[in-house]
């Protein structure tokens, strides 16, 4: 009897949860479906959910009209570039703070975090002028520099919380067994550090890919990543829903997939280790 009630309950919960889940996801699903419609079908009333003539024409059109691939590559270069440079700078710092902490380590970490609290708009004017005067405006290099700086505190923090979990005794044990420093790093530390580094990499690519303050303000036609390119659809001409959907689908698909794989790390990275 009790078992019966709990199965019934499970079914009710399942139906409610799926309904809400699909409702929340619906705008994304709708965008995906619309990207395969013709422009006329995209605004047809009543709208059709699945039963229309599927076409990939929009994807071709988006590319041929606006050189979509250039903006896609801008996003790739800017998000991967800023993340990799950030990791190269951050790994030694996080490492040192996790394994040879001093009295001031905590203060340094807190201070680094505090730089992240500064609203971007507080430094918009000088950054714009600096970029204009140094020719960095609308260049991939400029965007990589800014995104590296704004995500550096998060990268250091995430790495720190992961490195902190590597037990120090293992290092001592390896040393006792006569491992040299190089061997220690290659055979003992690297394998233990890689999962943390990989999660940090993933989260920061997501954050950099979606960053939409600096990319919108510091890039124009040439270096615009997808965030800024998509924004150009805010004042379009003629029918554009299907094309907007195609451009959007291509812009969000890679990150959706990456994000789904890194749900756990999302929580940890975004709360600076405060919730695990």
């Amino acid at each position: 009897m009790a078992r019966n009630v709990s199965t019934q309950r499970k079914i009710v919960v399942t139906v409610v949860a799926w309904t809400i889940g699909i409702l929340i996801f619906f705008p994304i699903l709708w965008t995906f479906l619309t990207s395969f419609k013709t422009e006329a079908e995209a605004i047809a009333s009543p709208p059709s959910l699945f039963f229309f003539d599927w076409t990939t024409e929009n994807y071709h059109e988006v590319q041929s009209r606006s050189n979509y691939f250039l903006h896609f590559m801008n996003s790739v270069v800017v998000s991967f570039g800023s993340t990799l440079i950030g990791l190269i700078i951050a790994i030694p710092s996080a490492w040192a703070m996790a394994f040879s902490p001093t009295k001031r380590t905590k203060d340094v970490l807190m201070w680094m975090l505090s730089t992240k609290m500064m609203p971007s708009v507080g430094v918009l004017v000088p950054m714009y002028l600096l970029f204009r005067n140094t020719g960095l405006l609308d260049t991939r290099t400029g965007l990589v520099i800014v995104l590296t700086l704004i995500n550096l505190p998060i990268i250091i923090w995430m790495l720190y919380t992961y490195f902190k979990e590597i037990p120090g005794e293992i290092l001592e044990a390896a040393r006792m067994d006569g491992a040299s420093l190089t061997k220690e790093i290659i055979y003992v530390l690297t394998p233990m550090a890689i999962p943390g580094i990989a999660s940090t990499l993933l989260l920061n690519i997501i954050l950099a890919w979606n960053e939409a303050f600096w990319t919108l303000n510091l890039s124009a036609a040439k270096a615009a990543p997808l965030t800024a390119f998509i924004a150009s659809y805010s004042s379009p001409e003629g029918l554009f829903y299907a094309k907007l959907s195609a451009a959007s689908t291509m812009a969000i698909a890679p990150i959706l997939i990456l994000g789904w794989f890194s749900q756990k790390q999302l929580v940890r990275g975004l709360t600076f280790g405060a919730v695990k």
């Binding site: 919960v13 889940g21 905590k106 505090s114 609203p119 430094v123 000088p126 303050f213």
Partner: protein, 290 residues
């Protein structure tokens, strides 16, 4: 000797990130403070002169400024309310045994991974558009007049779009916290005859309080700077009805080319964010000790 050696090595390893962040924090901010005391317009180069606090008094007496402060607060509080209440409800729901839990979780998380410009434009055009949007179609289905969301309720529309993006964040963090709640404790409470409601009030909510605080503080930091969603949907309008502080400073700087005024606005935004940051830092600082 060895420790001395490692210590200086450690300093050397930390130095690059500290120096970079120091430069990033000091140089542009010092420039903003400096500009905020100048009469400086990009359209009139070479005319810069010391202006005292006039940029600040201009900003602080501008009616648009108060509207922007109000809108900023409305966005922060509105989105916080929706996401925290909705997040708790969703987290409780997703914590129940069900079929296909993993897939539902993925569906719920998705909006957080969408870039802000895409999210805003999809909502603006395909849902809120009074002619071709889905909401208009639904309204007509019920024989109602379609509602022009972005023209008649611009601020509420922006809040809705931003809340959609941040609901997954709150849900995910609250769900993670919920899953760390001791199962035995719940059972013990149940055995003692505590009903679902009192279990929620006396057991679950206190356990979540820390995660709720984290959600509120982190979201506040980001929500104070909502920008892209406003830029592509309402462009701050109609008038200044959906202009927040970030957008106001942006408009002053890159549309009016008023460097001095925009800088003063930027400094005001920094001060406001610092007040929030103060509390957030204390929270996170405590976890470092634990």
């Amino acid at each position: 000797m060895a420790t001395l050696h490692t210590r200086s090595a450690a300093r050397l390893m930390i130095a690059p990130s500290v120096l970079l962040l120091l430069a990033w924090m000091i140089v542009p901010l010092a420039m903003t403070i400096y500009f905020s005391f100048l009469r400086y317009n990009l359209l009139m180069p070479g005319m810069e002169e010391f202006a005292g606090f006039s940029n600040y008094s201009y900003f602080l007496t501008d009616p648009a400024f108060f509207q922007a402060i109000f809108n900023t607060l409305a966005i922060v509080l509105g989105v916080l309310f929706i996401t925290v209440v909705g997040g708790i409800a969703l987290a409780l729901l997703l914590d129940q045994p069900m079929f296909g839990q993993g897939i539902v979780r993925i569906l719920v998380i998705a909006p957080f991974l969408i870039m802000p410009t895409v999210a805003a434009l999809v909502w603006k055009n395909m849902f809120m558009n009074p002619v071709n949007g889905l909401f208009a179609w639904v309204a007509k289905l019920f024989g109602l007049q379609p509602f022009d969301f972005l023209a008649n309720a611009p601020l509420m529309s922006v809040i809705l779009i931003v809340a959609w993006q941040w609901l997954p964040f709150a849900t995910l963090i609250l769900l993670t916290a919920l899953q760390s709640l001791d199962e035995e404790q719940k059972e013990a409470a149940q055995m003692d005859g505590a009903g679902a409601w009192s279990r929620f009030i006396y057991l679950v909510l206190p356990h979540l309080s820390r995660a709720i605080t984290v959600v509120i503080l982190i979201q506040t930091i980001f929500l104070l700077s909502v920008f892209a969603e406003i830029l592509v949907t309402t462009n701050g309008g109609p008038g200044t009805q959906s202009t927040n502080l970030t957008f106001l400073v942006y408009a002053q700087a890159l549309l009016q080319f008023d460097v001095g005024g925009a800088s003063a606005g930027g400094i005001i935004a920094v001060i406001l964010a610092n007040i929030v940051a103060f509390f957030l830092m204390r929270m996170i600082g405590k976890t470092l000790e634990a």
